[in-house]
Amino acid sequence: MTKDSVFGMSVSAIQTMLRERSVSSVELTETFLERIAATNESLNAVITVCAEQALEQAQKADAAISRGEYQSLTGIPILHKDIFCTQGVRTTCGSKMLEDFVPAYDATVVTKMKAQGAIMLGKCNMDEFAMGSSNETSYFGTVKNPWNLDCVPGGSSGGSAAAVAAGMAPLVTGTDTGGSIRQPASLCGLTGLKPTYGRVSRLGIIAFASSLDQAGPIAHTAEDCAIALSAMSGIDPGDSTSADIPVPDFHSALNTQIDGLRIGLPREYFNESLDDAVRDRVMAALAELEKAGAILVDIDLPHSHYAIATYYVIAPAEASANLARYDGVRFGYRCKTASDLEDLYLRSRSEGFGEEVQRRILVGTYALSAGFYDAYFNKAQQVRRVITDDFHRAFEQVDIIAGPSAPGVAFPFGAKQVDPVAMYMEDIYTLAVNLAGLPGLSAPAGFIDGMPVGIQLIGKPFDEQIILNTAHRLQTDTDFHMARPTLQGLTS
């Protein structure tokens, strides 16, 4: 193995090498740790590196492999978004509020992936409390997009996506409340999957909006996402919203046969407001699927337009309740020399939270406050049902729904920072999927001026398999997912 050859390799390819004993997990782990050391100063994708712990885990993996014992991720180095609690390892959620927070337990996702033999290299940068679409709200600084260092990687799982694109790890975890896996996957040329709400346990994931949050994988290929999804999923007694539904082996069930698959194209996603270049790439990817036997069907999601307004009531409202726990008393940042308890609350929160987080807490508090609850929160929950019903009606005609993942490619730093609403529009094609609790995947669909574009595939509840199959077929017939950024001048 030459060291450079593993950077950008898929999980399944690395798995084969491990099983053939052409590389050991310790060698892999050392190599990826070196890669992080060489590139992170420029990219800032990783907040915390766990070298010692990773090498220990890798030694155990090698011992297991030598005994012929394999789990689905045995020996594979991964990174977790810094929103997943990791026992004994600082978990910041991208916030000053949790700068020194060391959790006493692992998130269920972390436990499950560890049990499958994954090696945790460290924790990825992210927008503060997952609120943002550019990774610019992180207290730990912006993350650079490996495809163009002047551009954002997307967000909120921006560090996770940049890490895979830069070859720091073949697989990372992310979370997606309104598009935070799919949009950065799109902007960094990767495959990212937001599972059905309830598929993956939320225990130990620092809460943003509890009825929308889901964790999922970001990797190079749909095949790798399939491997990771089975490892992450399943009912958890610690999360009463985790679904009591069997978890298939998504990987062994992968099937490129999509003859007769009905793909719905919402008119509302392909209307005149869609960027022409994005439309071209998405339509070209759809044409490939059509060649493979899929049938494209125009459909209507007539209330799509309301998704953004609905989301920006529900998500901030739930966030304002979830973030009430940060009071400077039990854990997290505490202001210096508080004069009384009220002062302690006020200053710990104002000093500990950044601007976007405070804005969403204010909006959410307003929407839930006396006199406005019915006009905003209740109303938004009603519209949420109307939007969800649109999807269910559409799924009577089609098997999956396709559209763009994001309105454009990665944009320069600062471009959307002045007007919060301009940033919120980044998730215009992804938000509704969270409101309806559906699985959604973004896969590479080509490039515009050298920057990646994604196609989004949306499935019925708990039918991740069909969107994984469709993306896998696309990746069998095209090679957009094989492209890697050059990282010129970045690595020694």
Binding site: F101, A243, Y312, Q358, Y366, Y376
Partner: protein
């Protein structure tokens, strides 16, 4: 519906956030932009629609009522910014 700086101050107090006087105009202006975005909800008729509080209209699953593994109190308390004898310390509340 538009908001004034004094509305923002009231909401901020409810949320236990202190907004500096100098930041108030900017905070109000950006808050208003978000509010005009969400005010679009007023243009759709939802009479009779049952509010949806979670995606699959899930029923709350109850666990069996039995003693489970206790949390590690010491490990959890270790995250507290100030503590003594297993209690969280806060500024004096009663004189």
């Amino acid at each position: 519906m538009s908001v004034t700086p004094s509305d923002i101050e009231k909401v901020a107090l409810l949320a236990r956030l202190a907004i500096a006087e100098t930041d108030l105009p900017d905070v109000t202006e950006r808050f208003s932009r978000v509010l005009s975005l969400v005010n679009e909800l007023n243009t759709i008729d939802t009479d009779g629609v049952i509010p949806m509080s979670n995606p699959h209209d899930m029923e709350q699953r109850l666990r069996e009522d039995r003693v489970a593994h206790p949390s590690d109190r010491e490990a959890l308390m270790a995250s507290a910014p100030a503590q003594q004898d297993g209690y969280f310390l806060v500024p004096k509340v009663i004189d």
